[in-house]
Amino acid sequence: MPSILEVQNLVKKYGDFIAVKGISFHIKEGEIFSLLGPNGAGKTTTISMLSTLYTPTSGDATIGSHSITKNPMAVKQMIGVVPQEIALYEDLTARENLIFWGQMYGLSGKALNSRVDQVLEQIGLTDKAKNRVKTYSGGMKRRVNIGVGLLHKPRLLFMDEPTVGIDPQSRRAILDTVKDLNKQGMTVLYTTHYMEEAQELSDRVGIIDHGELIALGTQAELTKQVGQAETLILHIGENEDPEALAKAVSNVEGVQKADVTNNQVSIITPDAKDVLAAVVSKANERGIKIRSIDIREPNLEAVFLHLTGRALRD
């Protein structure tokens, strides 16, 4: 498959602060590519540059064969953007919003009305299309927000954390919509800080942290970086000392790495069951109460932890 997006050394600086530090990657036509990283990692800044909203400090990207810096109008015609915030007019109905945004993408007349009907069907809001957006639940607003990005049938869809702040049911519906769109041939660049979403949706994942792309590949390729290691997560009380526990368990045989995040200690080990008893024993020795324990098989979270020493939700 040819690349629809080629990113070359993209940099964005705000004074002395460098939000994006020269990232490069490509996305093949028809794939779902996720940018996974914690809040403030540079995901939204990257999407804002790729969608021509921000001008890169240096570097460039091509979408189709069009440069985002030299031919932004051609790029805008090719892409759809679903921003992180709900960028809709709350005093307009869903239909009125879709019609307005469709007009901004050059649609008009019967073609516009027909496309608006299709999108309303796709986001499951045909029945509520005449209600003002301000009367909608958060999930319904998110669906309209996505619908706007689909109106002109873009070849490449940017979705910036589209599931933030919504209920599990709406989240499920949005993830299913992304998969459906991809099945219909749409290429998707999806940013998230939810490891589960990236894992469920993506053909390939780029892990971004502090403006740098620290890992890139398929999920299998990425998890190989941490071997077959599992992650044992110990949740402790607020008044306990996680640093002391991490130090104590790092000497346990079979523990490869132990890191602290808020009130939890994450332990990377080839087999969590083998080290569990010894770890709990260490905690008891120091009078540290463990409130709960999670065991996770090799996943992107473990990769992030392995690469940065921090959990994704830091």
């Binding site: 969608s51 909203l53 921000y54 915030e85 960028a87 809709l88 007019y89 005093d91 307009l92 706007v148």
Partner: protein, 421 residues
Amino acid sequence: MKKLFLIGIKDLKLRFRDRAALIFMLLTPFILTLGMGLVTGRFSGGDSSGISDIPIAIVNLDNDSLGDALVDAFNSEDLADLVETTLSEDPEAARLLVDEDEVAAAIIIPAGFTQSVIPQNENALPNEEIRIEFYANPSRPTSAGIIKAIVDGFMARLDEMRLASMTSVSQLIMSGRISPEDANQVGQEMGARLQQNDAGNTNEATAITLNTSTSAGEDVEFDVLSYFAPGMALMFLMYTVSYGGSSILAEKSQGTLPRLLISPTNSMQVLGGKIFGIFLTGAAQMLILIGASSLFFQLKWGDAFGIVLLVLAAVFGATGWGMLITALARTPAQVGSVGSAVMLIFAMLGGSFTQIENMPAIVQTLGKITPNAWAMDGFTTLALGGTLTSLARPILALLTMGILLFLISAVLFGKKNLVQK
């Protein structure tokens, strides 16, 4: 251009769906106008106009029937409360009174004026038209406008009289009742008769009074609400334009402005659309208020075409101020608070609450920067039967104001980041 229009229409729709905005845009100025009407006794048959004792100087060098008729009209009982006349024999002295802000206007009736309108014999027909000189005080636009409207009314009556004579003589020639050779003599006789009738009617205050006529011949009486209704409408027009301006910054923080800029729409179209939306909303607000006051208060605003032109010019000038406030502010809240302050200050400086002539000279000068003052000038002129020609000055001033403010705002917006929060 189409996208600019679509963005403007969208904003108009949004504004008219916002109940709070509707209360400020329409209900509040309407109720305040009603209140002003009640306070001034307009609804109880009172005739207080709020404008009185306008000082004027008249120089009658004509000393013939028409010049005397005009002087008598200004000295008539009907105008006694409105006008305070000073008679002078020296045009320069009269102009000096205006220059020194002693009077609102000087009316100089030139020698031979009556002869120029109604020639007594063939030899007396002048080569050039002799005109009444109206020397207005620019610092008292409303008062000067009122006086000018009265003089315009007088001139209109003279034109009617002259036209009636000419038409009658033409008809008599065409019907063969008189020969072309007799036309001049008949015309003179007819003019003299009309002149006599007109002079004879002076005491009945039909020649020139506050009751002037529109072009349609309809009687128009100066109404206190003709002053307060535009005053209130213009005050809340400033609210509309600053609120509209704040919507640019609100859209920025809500994310719809960046979304517009991500679509294949350039920043000039987006900003132009937003400005067009403010302009449309302001124009709709003014026209609705004018319509409502005409309907519910039977208020006569004057020439409809003139009203539309003046409204568009006033909204244009006011929108310029809205854009400047927005360009200088960082948040919608800042626009709101600065806009409210500007709304009140402009209302005071621009004569929305009280006659601008009653204020100190410095305030009157400052008032010139407000769209309120210029538009008030125009609305008062129209309410008194003024014509499109008499609107040229306020309209030109409002358009110039708008253009200057848009240029300054464009420079400031160019330095402003409309994308990032």
